[in-house]
Symmetry: D2
Subunit: 351 residues, 4 copies
């Protein structure tokens, strides 16, 4: 970058006048009493001679040499050499993505496609670590299709829509809606599965079950419909029932639930086994009888929420649909109307 | 409930002695100066005579009769009579649950089942308000299967697992995981669709696109794989590509992306069109060319996040799977190890 | 916009040649058999004469006049006139934002500021609809400060951080973290409050309580610390205890818990009443004895989660802090290391 | 547990008759051809003699001795010995919970209490890693109090309430509400801070700023109120302004915003600087001028969302309040009324 002579790197590059050159500086330092080597090469020698001189004069008293600490080995290297064993913090059994092929519960993804197991079969691998029979996969898909949506008025769709109208992204809207799912909204599948299983497993007769629930003042979950009745059957249940009856190896719990339905509809025609109740009991029959699970495994999956998962996954389709719908319809910020809110003041605060 | 004579209802019922009877009370009141009718039937007459007497004496000065205010009509009744019109606060177009049959985008649910459109077709109705051709439904299902999971190490599965190990319910765990999805995790489908569409629509040649991205220091989204390469192709992409090439009426954007891949893999063999990139561009081809959408509609769906929805819905399957897995494996509360955290203190706070 | 003669508005404006003029068109229509008025003014007359003619010929048979339906009245107008009564769907008692001044539980916001009740007092209004005594407000603030953070390793902070490193926004990160709060993480305050209250209210002696818990194999929530002990006390608890003892009108439950602590620390010195346990029992003492609540109200607030709210609100401060910290430190996408995950395959799936 | 003679541990314990004793078994084995040592002590000798015999006969051909693999060392042990170095995956600077005392940004929690820095000061440590001056802590608390709630009708409170009425827990309800916060709901503080800062920093005069915004058809964020006006001022703003003017070392941006307000209120009296706008600009003044931050640091905190955090934390108080309120009022499942929803069907789907 420059033509003139260079000393000591870029310091020289900046020397604009004689007093700024290395030579001038070295001279000034020497005059001021500093030890200045002739060139950089002699720096070490000068340091040594000054040191020896100071030691000789007793100015410096040499300390004992301390052996330098070993430099610790890199963990990843030590691990590769097999010198180190570190227990894993996490355990997983549904998916292995480390190799050449993505593997779902032991089955390579290409195998998943070749075997034409579809969405239902994929879900079977990831949720149950099983290759489910094809009727089971089909049934799971039918359940997802039936639960996919139930309009914009229910808690979950409503919150998704309100969030979408607040301008938020897909994930925020979906989760704001999903968080409303629980006992009161969407919990009927699970509750029906558990109530009917418990009654059936305890050996109670259908009539005993109905009487017990009535006596305790409890609703039978999965029984009852707003408009549908024994004379005006719910076609969704009809379609699912036809499929289940034709393909499942056993439908013990469903049969039990249908006996209960006979008793309740005799009292009131709309006390039918509704679609939530149907899915709940049929799912238990599926897990218990498809051959892939012990009875304990089947019950554990219901216990930890597999049926709830079906509702959540199915309805996610609807919630995302509502989100896209509101965006497409360009709906603005929602504010609940004041005249639909009753502002009350606790007595003790009235002023 | 009692045998003796009754006067004035339950007051008499409680009269235990003479002084508590109606007769005794009436007498006492009369003696104290009250106007006491002989029986309840004469109450009105006595009130009138006392009133007229007081008016006559000038004690009471009658005020003008005010017509009583009309009792407001019940809103729901007025609405049913057609007297009132209230604009709706919400608009929806994906699902109508008011009638005898649940209706998805105009199609009764029984029709949905009869037409064997499956999960993909149901999604088509709810997200796009269209009856998609069957190859489109199939392709959507394939995308959901491929995106269903990618192991426990990624942000979303990790947070789902940590939440499950904190003992939380399915919804909380799923949402804690979903909330990590964004540009960095799961956003490649969307980003690839948008980048490639923009380049293609602007008439840029593949080489120009690659050069432009390089010059601007931007990554091409959807290009590149950790282990897969042109010589060791990703079988997932292969399977999807075979399907798309065989069934889609046009694959303009995919062809464009594959031309880009030719250029990038010439530079480095692992710069292939990966599965995210593939789904992104093929989905655009689907929306643009399946015949159901105008070009603007197709682009709007990508814009508002339909592709993001595919990833979110597909991966929800995996997250729920991880949740069930952790519950089944009975994993305890996770606490990140201290030795994997570097605690730093801003300089200005060192004490 | 144009110079030539105009007939019939913009139609004339576009007439470029004779055959496009109104005159030419009228003529052509007349020749084709149409009834053409001389000018727009005569249009009505021509319609009437044609109509009368057709009626005369019997081509048209006039129908009975039907009175037009009443146009329904606008709901908001009808409501203002008092014609309509609509029950409110929502009830609220914590805040009224309709008037000139924002009102928290009956107290105008300016009053809130003037009375110097601070954050704690504001929280008292919104959560308990009470103007709490100032020591209560102060204690609430102290609890929020103590629970504000406990490092990055716990479930909630960890998920917030992982989400922040996935590039997500503040709300997503905060909620991803909050969703991990439950029995195992953050639930000790609530659990301690409930366990100690139940034991105390049932009249059990401290020793009986300790023995019962031991016999049933249950942990006493809020007792025990990793490093702190009776000889190395937790200064947080000390500070809080000094404040509570000095200001609370009664500390019955705290005294009971300290008697329990005497028994447990006699067994093992670190089985102290920890900070979670302390806040839990002291909060119960506050609600029960501050004079603002009946005993049932006090217990209901613990039942529905007020103490949980304290932890959630306090820790939100920490989670938001962690979010800002990660953004400032520009931390990249986190992926859990493979060597810390044990990939297991259920036996039935081994191939 | 038993009185008779014992041989070989519990095997003998179970021997009920002669044939089940060790002696009888040994005899039977020997007769069947097994090599049976006289006692356990001779087992090794017998094994060796049988082995040597088989080697001698050539039945067993001894293989080369392979040195056993080193047993890998335990990671945590190796780390304690300093043999291994593992880079930390996480970095944190807000809180250190590893030692005897919880430390917020370098300050022990006891110090935090002793210094009486309150909620605002604690927040300053956790969010900004600074010990803020006391007026700054006070101002932060005032902002939290003002933003704490704004009634049940807004998106966030509404979703919290709908979720509470679906029976969900505190965390789910709070997060369902928080997820609606964004540009349209709650985003005004942030937006005002950014808009005004940008205009001020670019040297635009207030009039130029107003004209530019008008010309571009953009709203000025933080300007305008539904009912309040220059003649009917918002008392919240008044109180905050008095405090800020009295305590802040400089209020450059606030002064700029008030000059803008002069121009806008001249046009329309309700175009005042509202409470969102006020907090936005005053917060920028605080960060820029309190002495703790460089200008870049101050701007970075606004950029990454510190102001958004103030709104989120403040309003969390309100959302939790609404949750507790709904629980206390025992409100049931909400379902949005059908007559408030307009069900539309895209034309292409009409059947």
């Amino acid at each position: 970058m420059f033509s003139s002579e260079v000393q000591f790197g870029h310091a020289g590059a900046c020397a604009n006048q004689a007093s700024e050159t290395a030579v001038a500086k070295n001279l000034a330092l020497k005059e001021a009493g500093a030890f200045v080597p002739k060139s950089f090469d002699e720096l070490g020698d000068v340091i040594k001679s000054v040191y020896d001189d100071l030691v000789g004069k007793g100015v410096i008293v040499p300390a004992m040499e301390v052996p330098p600490p070993t430099v610790p080995m890199d963990y990843s290297w030590a691990r590769e050499l097999g010198l180190i064993r570190k227990p894993a913090s996490f355990m997983t059994s549904i998916c292995d993505e480390r190799g050449q092929e993505l593997i779902y519960a032991g089955m390579p993804i290409t195998e998943v496609f070749k075997s034409e197991m579809g969405m239902g079969g994929t879900l079977g691998l990831l949720w149950f670590q099983r290759r489910l029979p094809s009727y089971a996969s089909k049934f799971i898909e039918m359940c997802l299709m039936v639960t996919a949506d139930h309009g914009p008025a229910v808690s979950g769709a409503h919150n998704t829509i309100v969030c979408a109208r607040a301008g938020k992204d897909l994930i925020s809207c979906l989760t704001s809606g999903l968080l409303t799912i629980g006992d009161r909204f969407g919990g009927a599948l699970d509750a029906a599965a558990k109530q009917f299983s418990k009654a059936f497993d305890s050996g109670m007769l259908p009539m005993e079950f109905v009487n017990k629930m009535k006596k305790e003042g409890n609703l039978i979950m999965g029984i009852g419909h707003r408009v549908k009745s024994i004379n005006n059957p719910d076609m969704r249940v009809q379609i699912l029932k036809d499929f289940v009856k034709k393909t499942f190896p056993s439908t013990q719990l469903l049969d039990y639930a249908m006996d209960v339905e006979k008793i309740t509809t005799a009292k009131k025609p709309n006390l039918i086994l509704n679609v939530d109740g149907f899915i709940g009991v049929a799912f238990v029959d599926l897990l218990r009888n498809c051959g892939g699970f012990t009875r304990d495994e089947a019950d554990e999956f219901v216990e930890i929420g597999a049926l709830n998962g079906i509702f959540v996954l199915g309805r996610s389709m609807g919630f995302i649909g509502h989100y896209l719908d509101q965006k497409r319809l360009k709906q603005g910020l929602y504010r609940h109307p004041w005249d639909d809110i009753s502002y009350v003041l606790p007595e003790h605060m009235s002023m």
